[in-house]
Symmetry: C2
Subunit: 421 residues, 2 copies
């Protein structure tokens, strides 16, 4: 595997060329390519897992932390899951098949708005080799070429996965340049960010630092994904038992993901009662609490588990079993707190008061706003999209879970008989 920074611009040009071929392919051909990729991944499973073992050995030798090694691992069972995912994407409806909107102008010009692929998509991510395949097949299904820039810890795994996918594309009679694994060196990401005109969109997937660096440096349009400082707001009219279950779920069911709750807001009127119930339940689930002075008075627990919150806590995306807790004077104070510290990802109110709920749903500016449900549902599968490439937290193009439709754009097709203006 060549770890020199090679010719990313050249790779992008070849991706463009290959994508022009894919643009003319039928849905059957695209799905056939996905099936061929599933097969070649199966055929080369031993090589892929062996390459991953080398990555794992190097990561262990370098003393990488346990959670990072867990993300890097791609054993037979995980690879089989990845391959099932490829076939699941092949089985999804064709995002390019939608009937175009069409209208005829008074001058007789017929205008159609037709779905087309985005073109060449760059994905910048960290060291989860499963992403290499997931992202590639979603892009292909929607008619796009993809340039994959993964983390250096997964370089051998990604090269093996890329070789298997290239073999699948060749078997399907499509250009292997549709899926290209870039060198894992940092410079390749910089070249990708500078490839305006050659790459149509960049999607960073990973931690906050990676995403911030990409959105700040890229000259290629970026879809920002995944930073989630999500709140659960327990309104004074909440069903407190329901609120407790929602908070526990939003924090504990998978704290490492972006739709997990990071801050609990509680109305003053019910704070003592609610925290007397929910506090012990959270602590029993292993959650560390960072509480405002007022909430602190209602929470009992070991000093290591219940600590005073600082200003930083309100903006923190912990991604672990830590929860900030703040007592608020009512709906408007909760809305102001969320407007200030939220990341426009997922925000929930728990209340039996319909008017308060509607005010919250209307006023909160976020990709997903919830009434009486856990923030954990902001996910392509949970929305019924079948698969997702990420959760957009920006407002342009796509917001929230991005499925196949969000990997397409449109163009206008105009048919006339000599119209001039």
């Amino acid at each position: 595997m060549d770890e020199r920074v090679s010719d990313v611009r050249g790779m992008a040009r070849r991706a463009r060329q290959a994508q022009r071929r894919l643009e003319l392919a039928t849905a059957g051909e695209r799905n056939g390519a996905l099936e061929a990729i599933a097969r070649t991944l199966e055929e080369k499973a031993a090589e892929i897992v062996a390459a991953n073992r080398e990555d794992l050995a190097a990561a262990e030798a370098a003393g990488l932390p346990g959670p990072m090694i867990a993300r890097l691992r791609l054993d037979e069972a995980k690879l089989a899951g990845v391959i099932r995912g490829v076939r699941a994407v092949a089985a999804l409806p064709d995002p390019l098949a939608a009937e175009p909107e069409a209208w005829v102008r008074p001058n007789g010009l017929r205008i159609e708005r037709v779905r087309v692929p985005l073109g060449v998509i760059g994905i910048i991510y960290e060291s989860r080799p499963g992403v290499t395949v997931d992202a590639a097949v979603l892009c292909l299904k929607a008619g796009n070429a993809v340039l994959l820039k993964g983390g250096k810890e997964a370089a051998r795994s990604n090269a093996a996965l890329g070789a298997a996918m290239a073999a699948g594309l060749r078997q399907a009679g499509l250009p292997e340049e549709l899926v290209q694994v870039l060198p894992s060196a940092r410079e390749a990401a910089v070249e990708l960010m500078n490839a305006r005109g050659l790459v149509d969109v960049l999607i960073p997937r990973g931690g906050a630092g990676l995403i911030r660096a990409t959105v700040e440096q890229s000259r290629v349009p970026v879809i920002e994904t995944g930073t989630g400082v999500c709140h659960v707001y327990v309104h004074e009219a909440a069903d407190l038992a329901m609120a407790r279950e929602i908070v526990l779920n939003a924090k504990c069911s998978n704290p490492a993901v972006c739709n997990a709750a990071e801050t609990l807001l509680v109305d003053r009127a019910i704070a003592a009662r609610f925290l007397a119930d929910a506090g012990p339940a959270l602590l029993a689930a292993g959650v560390r609490l960072r509480a405002c002075p007022e909430a602190l008075a209602y929470l009992r627990g070991a000093a290591a588990m219940v600590e005073p919150a600082t200003e930083e806590d309100w903006a923190a995306e912990y991604l672990d079993l830590t929860l900030a807790v703040k007592v608020v004077g009512g709906l408007e104070e909760a809305l102001a707190h969320i407007a200030r510290y939220g990341t426009q990802h997922s925000e929930a109110i728990v209340t039996a008061d319909g008017a308060a709920a509607e005010r919250f749903l209307r006023a909160v500016n976020a990709a997903a706003v919830y009434h009486n449900a856990s923030t954990r549902f902001t996910d392509g599968g949970e929305f019924g999209f079948g698969a997702e490439i990420g959760i957009s937290t920006q407002k342009l193009h796509a917001r929230g879970p991005m499925g196949l439709a969000e990997l397409t754009t449109y163009k206008y097709v105009l048919r006339g008989n000599g119209q001039v203006r």
Copy 2:
């Protein structure tokens, strides 16, 4: 008028605050604000025109070129047209009123996808004071706050227009910070481009240099607009009389705009015949031709009007009565030329061969692709959108003419009864 670079970030924060108020306004309130702005523009017409005269005098003293002075001029008649435009936007359908898509998940969670404003929009433009009002009212109609950074030549005009619009907003009971005219100094544009998180999207409107600088430097998401190296391709099976009229219209009806044709591609099989007819017609219309060697052989005219093309001509956006002319070997060569030199704006084929037309319409990657019509129809009004904020030449979010719908985004509203995951 204060020409210091003031606190653009503070202005953006106040815009955000004001937009949260507008987000809760009804369509009636938003249209009422537009009507109030139309009235205050009428009431302050004399002051606005006087301010514009000062700008014009300064521009003339500075020796600005005639076309720039023409764009800068805002006399009573042009202002009346701008005000009619405000009322026309008020009369358009509400872009936020569309019935949301809604579905219910197996767990009972009801998901709605609702239209919402983009939020705070920054417009960076040159010295056409009409844009100040056009852009502001389109943004307001769609529920957005707007920060307007115009050219310094129009600073007095823009300040007067901004004051009139602020008065209209106050009369309508809405915060005047919804429409803010920024200082015209270059530094204000730089601050705007750095205001990520405070400004949701930047839309540059103007020449290629302005747009390039914005897309390259901005950390705020940008919608690239308006660079148009548009082609008319005359296929061997074209109705040559129709082709001549389309080429003449695409080049001559308004050469200064982005949807005008810049290059004519002609199939070798009909080049001699077509250019013998279209060449003199173009020259008679005052068009200067830059021709490839083969086309040159078919064109007769004064040396100043017919010149050999250089490599630069194929990429040139002339925006005047100049047209590059190239003979090609057929459809595939035309497609390759357009893929290489086009700017993904508007591309036309003239042919009576349906299969060739369909191949062109499918293969060309551009916002608008035409069969047997002039490229000049890529325009919000001509598409039936009523008004436009620009023509997007990128693929994210919006492509082609951007009407009111393109100034909105969506959010997901989820209603449950205690769902957890």
